[in-house]
Symmetry: none
Subunit: 337 residues, 2 copies
DNA sequence: TTCACTATCGAATAGGTATTCAATGCTCCA
DNA sequence: TGGAGCATTGAATACCTATTCGATAGTGAA
């Protein structure tokens, strides 16, 4: 098959003579269909290995070799990519509750499972994880995780105090505890309410070494696992004794707040909303939060849509785990950047 | 690297959890479509480079990533021209499976890839495409298409209802859906069975506005993408629950039918064969079908030879994408016009 | 013919990927 | 409960591929 003479007039498809095309297809077949290595092909055709490489490249450019990725049904790769691009996220995971109009419970379960898988595959060791507590979404996530015998994280730190009465405070630390057990990490609790009764009370608490020591660890976090709060009443918040009084919620809404991450509120555009509440929150501050390399938000359900969108717009989040419904709406958002 | 597998069904969820599939697809797209290097992907997804390599390998094995070598047009130019002239076609594309005696799977892949290239090069925008569903050939075609950044078609319309059980009905719409996504077009589905249980049932269905609205769009199609059916049992038809009962097939054969396009049957000479079935088919009718400016048939394999020849003789088709074996036989046909 | 320019080629090697290997976890059976 | 056997993992690395770079040949103008 070696060389042909350079024919004068040939139809020339793609700017190339058919003889060239035949060589291209031949090499492409040997490589892609017969699995031959380039040196083998080179030897058989009496050409050099770099030449084979160049021919293959050319064949790909000309579309003679085409590689396609078929998205299996039930996987929403395009959707995820669109959201990643639109909001500049590192990773998006879309969980499919598998029902046309899923209830909150199904959504919770779906994103919980997806979040768990995400953590299981991406926590490989050494991470210092912050976890915002009291979110039923995070609870669902942690519940769906399988215990790892080998430590896959160094430390799990509670970045927000407990909320509400002492019962739910316990519950808040439980989340951090569970995650720590599951990942084999050391757990660091924040033995304090998430919301002090006054700025002064917060100062007092923060001067307690038990607490300040914990706060000092926030700077070294490599990852934050957070739920997103919406300013609609959430079942859990209500249950846990209305951490944020109705009046305060109202005030926040009037300031334009639509949601929060770790009790730091933001408006529709994702801009931080300052409020008197800020000085009573016992937890990670905005600056430290934003300096964490990987902030993973797990949140879904139409009730939280506005909050999720705002969090993405404001760049509060690097990785989002959400449900199909929210994902579709996010993907349909006009690009406002 | 053995490529030979009798993988005749859908994307092949090889007993894997959806979350696994999701990751496979994600990695595959990052690598093959976005051209990212493995270390990059590893970093972004917080997994190790060897893992990325293994995931890619697995994705290839599962058929999520498929690489095909397409015969560039022009290699078989003479053959193509001869068939065009003999049967008065607008265009013929001959795909070379590249093996002396290719199995159905190789033929499928070859003509699928060739069909994909044909579509990619001839769809330039504004087309309203009808697509006949449930054809494994069309599936192979759509699977081999690369996504286009700009929309190249206006609308993709399903011109035949689904066939068989509800599972394969979904599968039928998926084909239209995929094509719509790939071309950036709006998808219009026909939410109905392709074959009603009785003429009366068909009437009822057709009076449903969801369905009649779709039927009304058939008149404006600028192009039809169709498979060709032969009256030999096809693996897919059998699998999807014998849409056409054996007895009916037999009856059709006795009427002289050798094949169909969109469930409209024709005999050896390409003449339409009227049968009781006609009044049960929910899809495009013969007259509308024949008025479509460009009917592209993608079909190959010796099993379908008689049907293909008949379709050409009857002038059902303007463009044919087929395999080398069929092409050679077609070119050797005596001119009987 | 000569010269300048460009295209093409292969040796060397940089770059990227797949595999090996040892460690560890899981499953199943005694 | 213990442990044999199999599966999975990432670090190290062998392997394979793509690119660089200098050499050579073709091309066209003077």
């Amino acid at each position: 098959m070696p060389t042909e003479r350079s024919n004068l007039r040939e139809p020339a498809i793609g700017g190339l003579a058919p003889s060239q095309l035949r060589l291209l297809t031949k090499v492409a077949r040997m490589y892609h269909e017969h699995g031959m290595r380039q040196p083998q092909i080179a030897e058989q055709l009496h050409i050099s290995q770099p030449r084979v490489s160049r021919l293959l490249k050319q064949a790909t450019e000309l579309g003679i070799v085409r590689t396609t990725v078929v998205t299996p049904s039930g996987v929403h790769a395009e959707l995820e990519e669109r959201i990643e691009r639109r909001f500049g996220l590192r990773d998006v995971v879309v969980a499919d509750p598998g029902q046309p109009a899923p209830g909150e419970q199904s959504v919770l379960q779906a994103i919980g499972a997806a979040g768990a898988v995400y953590l299981e595959t991406t926590l490989t060791g050494g991470d210092r994880i912050g976890i915002s507590s009291w979110s039923s979404t995070l609870l669902a996530t942690v519940d769906a995780m399988r215990p790892r015998p080998t430590p896959v994280a160094e430390r799990v730190v509670q970045v927000i105090g407990g909320v509400g009465n002492s019962t739910s405070q316990v519950y808040a630390t439980r989340l951090a505890d569970r995650l720590a057990i599951l990942t084999g990490a050391e757990a660091v609790f924040l033995p304090a309410p998430g919301l002090a009764s006054s700025p002064a009370a917060r100062e007092v608490l923060m001067s307690d070494p038990h607490i300040s020591d914990v706060l000092a660890t926030y700077g070294g976090l490599s990852m934050l696992l957070a739920g997103l709060g919406s300013l609609e009443p959430s079942p859990l918040l209500v249950e846990s004794g209305n951490a944020i009084a109705d009046g305060e919620q109202e005030a926040l809404r009037e300031l334009g707040a639509v949601g929060d991450i770790c009790l730091r509120f933001f408006d529709e555009k994702g801009q931080a909303v300052r409020s008197p509440l800020d000085d009573r929150v016992l937890g990670i501050d905005v600056e430290t939060l934003r300096s964490i390399p990987r902030v993973v938000a797990i949140a879904g359900g139409s009730r939280k849509y506005t909050a999720i969108r705002a969090a993405l717009r404001g760049g509060w989040v690097d990785v989002l785990v959400t449900d199909l419904g929210v994902a579709r709406r996010l993907a349909a958002e006009p690009d406002d950047r």
